[in-house]
């Protein structure tokens, strides 16, 4: 039985392994190779040259990186605070409303993110849905919040909301009601239950949700372009510029590599700590 299972397991994993090997791992190796390629050569058979990484420091490319990571961090923290009560409601309080909320959030995911962000531009711009109606009603307009840093963070929070909400709800669902009841019977305050029971026991969901939001937000491009105009250049933006306008592949690859290494380290660290059987099925 065991031998049969290991043969069947490998056989069924094969299509996916081929796709991931050829179209995920191999491209990453190519990016790494290009990042140490001498400039204007377009050939991989050369001695490695780390000058592209030097440019990263010399020409201030760490600034877009800091912006991306900083805004990703802030939006992840905001997302956690915003989503926690709702996820708690979905896991422990609501009955039918959990389904309504789940369907509503999932369906919104199917609309392309740039259409939704463009919708916010139309909502918030001067003469947009809010300001336009406000002015028609009161006769006085106000400054549009667009093209500033807070609105980019708002965009990140908006787009990655489902990626925090669902893992959190799944994590909180793993907290046994008995444990909360027992703590409450023993005289624990609401705050103590949250800190001592809910947060540690829902940790897998918290890890997955935070990691997912942070990683996706750190590589995001459309939010800063559409809502932020030219206020902030994010790392994905400088990577794109290096490839398209700059035609500087080594630099673009080096920039991507820095982002890939930071995000990859976080993702591998987080994923290795989580028991997938427990989250996705089985021991619920």
């Amino acid at each position: 039985m065991e031998r049969l299972h290991s043969r069947l397991g490998l056989f069924s994993a094969l299509p996916m392994l081929v796709v991931l090997g050829l179209c995920f791992l191999a491209p990453l190796v190519v990016v790494a190779a290009f990042s140490v390629m001498p400039r204007k050569v377009f050939d991989l058979a050369h001695l490695p040259d780390f000058s592209a990484y030097l440019v990263f420091f010399q020409q201030g490319y760490y600034k877009p990186l800091f912006w991306s990571l900083g805004m990703a961090l802030v939006s992840t923290v905001i997302l956690f605070v915003v989503c926690w009560p709702l996820a708690f409601g979905m896991a422990k309080v609501f009955r039918r409303f959990t389904l309504v909320l789940t369907v509503a959030v999932v369906v919104s995911l199917f609309v392309s993110e740039n259409i939704r962000l463009f919708g916010w531009v139309l909502t918030l711009m001067k003469g947009g849905l809010i300001e336009g109606h406000w002015r028609a009603f009161t006769g006085e307009g106000f400054e549009s919040p667009l093209y500033k840093v807070p609105i980019i963070i708002f965009g990140l929070v908006y787009v990655y909301f489902p990626f925090m909400l669902f893992p959190l709800a799944q994590g909180i669902a793993m907290v046994p009601d008995d444990a909360r009841q027992a703590a409450s019977d023993l005289g624990a305050s609401k705050w103590q239950i949250l800190r001592e029971i809910d947060l540690p026991l829902a940790a897998p969901g918290i890890v997955v949700g935070s990691l997912l939001s942070f990683v996706l937000a750190a590589g995001a491009l459309a939010e800063s372009k559409l809502l932020g105009g030219q206020t902030v250049i994010v790392i994905a933006d400088s990577v794109e510029t290096a490839f398209t306008y700059g035609q500087d592949w080594p630099l673009g690859s080096a920039l991507s590599m820095v982002l890939i290494l930071i995000i990859g380290a976080m993702a591998i660290f987080g994923i290795s700590r989580v028991d997938l059987d427990a989250i996705i099925g089985r021991k619920r």
Partner: protein, 266 residues
Amino acid sequence: MGASRTTRIVLVLYGLLAIFLLYLPLVSITFASISRARYLTFPIKRYSTDWYARAIESSTVSDIVTTSLKVAVIVTLASMVIGFFGALAFARYQWRYRGLFQKLILLPIFFPQTVLGLALLMWFNSIGVIPSWKTAVIAHLVWIAPIATLIIAIRAYSFDPALEEAARDMGASTGTILREISIPLLMPGVISAGLFAFLLSWGNFPLSLFTTGADSTLPEWLYAKMVSGYSPLVPTVGVLSILASAGIIILALVLAKLLRRRAGTA
């Protein structure tokens, strides 16, 4: 521990607020799409459906819709097959590298899509493949096939391994077991994975951005128009694309209901 009535009401209101904010931008887009003016300002004074007529007549729009459709259909079919087997390896068979496989599948999901698209562009370039809508299919697949696997895996966890073992004890071959037991039992999961795959591919922008070459998908075309200045066609085509997604969701729900009714009477 039952929450108090007030907590429940406050949380429901909070949930309704979240849904309202999720859909508010779509409300703006819908109004913008039926505004008659070339330059949009709210409140809208004159409504018209001219822009819809123009969008539907436009040959550029029908080209990009065809491209998006081709990509989404192929991605859907491929993800259903890859995801079906992937889910068996993920949840059902106890094999040696299962833990590693589970984690490997998550990596592309935990990866910035724009960067993945760029990495693929460089990969295609270095092996001499010219990017077109076909390479976009590959790009979408790297991200969507793992998601399809996870969706089918949820279903695979809940089915009883004893069923397969009983069939094997009675002499059924692996092929027969697959056909008679695994496929019918996982079918609902496979179908919802297909639905997700189609809709995610249809709406995906960051993966298409670098991998479509000279072709263009719907979200990509919309983005290019948005960045280069306002065009009344943007909200119109945006709404049409949303309507297409909505239509497919409704169709899927109706089909699911019909199938369940037939299964119930049979």
